[in-house]
Symmetry: C2
Subunit: 419 residues, 2 copies
């Protein structure tokens, strides 16, 4: 690509000629760009995504668009988010080796990343809707969340490095602003871009009348915007995970920012809970088996997170927080401190989890788990359970001492007729 | 001053010739630099401070030194802290008009700020040791803390501006690192630069044996390093306040960073409490009267902080947090949210307060309130009260619903014979 050239969106037709000179791409795919096969597969809202194949292999070429696809060019978005995605991917690769696509090439002007192609992986959300189980999913996700959380915090990082990183990612303004608006604010008032399924009005009214709930949500927003505990993925739902029957990877960290540790794992659990509540519309005889599997994934993800976090606490606690000089070196066990920190993480996580469950049914960007349900009466009934459990999580976040309590709550709401 | 010149520390002798060309200085003091009178008055650890007087007026010239004065050139410190002091002063002036010195000139290369001279103000700590009352002190300090806190947070600021500011101040690495080490960590183990008064060994041993206490202190450290709620002064003790009998100002914000709102007001109260506990060594018949006055200053500072914060909550809540769209526009009072936020601020503040009370007796930089007590047996007895109250504050921070409880606690410890 020509140095200093202006941004121009790629097309299936223009891509081979425009990227023929990118050595890192040629090394993966093969030197003769005239034989490359290019497909555009982006189903997200913010980007073009191409699969580029040649005789030597296949890569993903991802290019940011200067606007939100879902609403057209009326909502412009800065291209610099590719810069943050690139920096997030390199940090995630270092902190959770093997979990995210390898980056082969980054072009800041073109807002373009050439990265590893995963096959035969598909988006996890599609598998959850189709009722497919993924072996090792919970282990992978729990470990990924714990490793990126711990190794991106001052439990592990040098303070100067962490401050420099916080400053870098503080430049990612407009993308986190989407979360601040769509996730934390819009669901709780008549925001212009909101939509919800017919029939949900009474539930929506109930949530918006709950002042205590809104206070808790805004407290969570303050933690999201002000607590730079670790580098978050920032958008860790089942559409940001790709899986085969037994392998999983995490993609799309363009919402990366430093934020509270509980955010990623909370949003992740929310998306599993929404998969859980939507299943009655997607399954037949295997409903109970598959819903039980989803709850087991939630339980095992949280358990694996704790196990990994505690292991890193013992082996990699090299930052300024909870230094050995104050604990182990004085013959004092620091387990009490780790317990307290995990409690705080889960308290945050269940609160973020409940908020994510709300926004996916009330705000702009819904998810296919519910949206694919054509019968809106059925959809509203299932969404109502999801919304009310979200409220319960937000209210009770501080008292949920164990993921088992969350799963029991899910079973309870799954049997309720709210509408 | 020559553009692009290298940093060179000023002296009383070199200052007039070197600064004769600075128009903003000349405008304040007068054009003929040969008649300027220059005195060096720095009693801090990090800087040269000159009073420069001429026929037209007087200014302060403050220049950062490349090392910590107290320990000589063995502890180098970056000159860029003058850059942060300059940016902090301009923000504080905008957020709390009239509270801080006006900046006339800033030279980044020379790490030098020419600023307003306050006369006949003296350092508040000297007044507290001398038993002098300052009219309006609590009102001024409570209002200053509330205004800078509220207006430097996303309760008020545009998110993009706040993120840019967080990024800017994240560059102030080494100065907050002093706080992270000296305040939050060193007191609780045998750090090399520590010192404490003879006789305090049993109290020190008791604090270091208290694992729960150390966990709470490290939780506070995590909030200090990760919670970017607002721009802090960062070093708001009675040596950073200048007063006459009825006027007060805040100086020296080179420790500025974005941090938890409770930090400044907590550190401030700690320094009043240390003044309180040290008084039996400084006063005669007026001891009770003056100690009562100090407690009244603490009470009134906290009360004024709350009143001002609540007023700003009603009148200036223009940021993304707790938007009117979720509360007032739906006919819902947001007082509950303000109450909860103030509770969290005080919980943080009393915890930071207790930690500051510890570090000033156990770590490197002690304060004159105690250090001026020549009789070390008396000093140790008074410091022991202060240290044990610090521990009580850290343990009970979450349950102190009212500043009255803190003052009652102070009266209680003031009557205790711990050693």
């Amino acid at each position: 690509m020509r140095a200093g050239s202006e941004y121009e969106a790629l097309t299936v037709e223009s891509l081979p000629a425009r990227l023929a000179g990118v050595a890192a791409l040629v090394a993966q795919v093969g030197p003769d760009s005239t034989v490359w096969r290019v497909r555009e597969v982006g189903d997200g809202n913010l980007n073009l995504v191409f699969i580029v194949s040649g005789p030597d292999g296949t890569v993903i070429v991802k290019q940011a668009l200067p606007y939100v696809r879902l609403v057209g060019d009326s909502w412009p978005l800065p291209l610099y988010r590719a810069f943050f995605e690139y920096h997030a991917l390199t940090r995630q690769a270092a902190r959770a080796p093997g979990a995210v696509p390898e980056v082969f090439h980054f072009d800041e002007t073109q807002a373009l990343i050439v990265m590893e192609f995963f096959a035969p992986h598909v988006i996890l959300r599609r598998k959850l809707i189709a009722g497919e189980q993924v072996e090792g999913l919970a282990d992978f996700l729990g470990r990924y969340c714990a490793r990126t959380a711990f190794r991106g915090s001052e439990l592990s990082m040098r303070s100067a490095d962490k401050k420099a990183d916080v400053a870098l990612f503080a430049g990612n303004v407009e993308i986190p602003a989407i979360t601040e608006g769509l996730v934390f604010t819009d669901p709780y008032y008549e925001a212009e871009m909101n939509n919800h399924t017919n029939g949900l009005d009474p539930v929506v009214a109930q949530l918006r009348a709950d002042v205590g709930l809104k206070v808790r949500v805004q407290q969570a927003l303050q933690r999201f915007t002000s607590n730079t505990q670790t580098m978050l993925h920032g958008d860790l739902h089942s559409g940001s995970i790709m899986s085969t029957a037994r392998d999983s990877r995490v993609i799309d960290p363009e919402f990366a920012q430093y934020g509270p540790i509980g955010f990623d794992v909370g949003m992740l659990c929310a998306n599993f809970l929404m998969a859980y509540f939507s299943q009655p519309a997607h399954r037949g005889d295997d409903l109970e088996t598959y819903q039980n599997w989803i709850l087991r994934v939630i339980t095992d993800t949280c358990t694996r997170f704790e196990v990994e976090f505690r292991a890193l606490w013992q082996s990699e606690r090299t930052g300024i927080l909870y230094p050995a000089s104050l604990f182990e070196d004085q013959g004092h066990d620091s387990t009490l401190a780790c317990d307290a920190m995990l409690n705080e993480i889960w308290c945050d996580a269940w609160s973020f989890c409940g908020i994510e469950m709300h926004r996916r049914c009330l705000s702009l960007a819904h998810n296919a788990d519910f949206e694919d349900i054509a019968d809106t009466a059925v959809r509203a009934r299932l969404e109502a359970r999801n919304l009310m459990m979200g409220a319960a999580l937000i209210h009770q976040a501080g008292t949920l001492s164990d993921v088992g309590m969350v799963c029991a709550m899910a079973r309870d709401f799954n049997g309720k007729d709210i509408l």
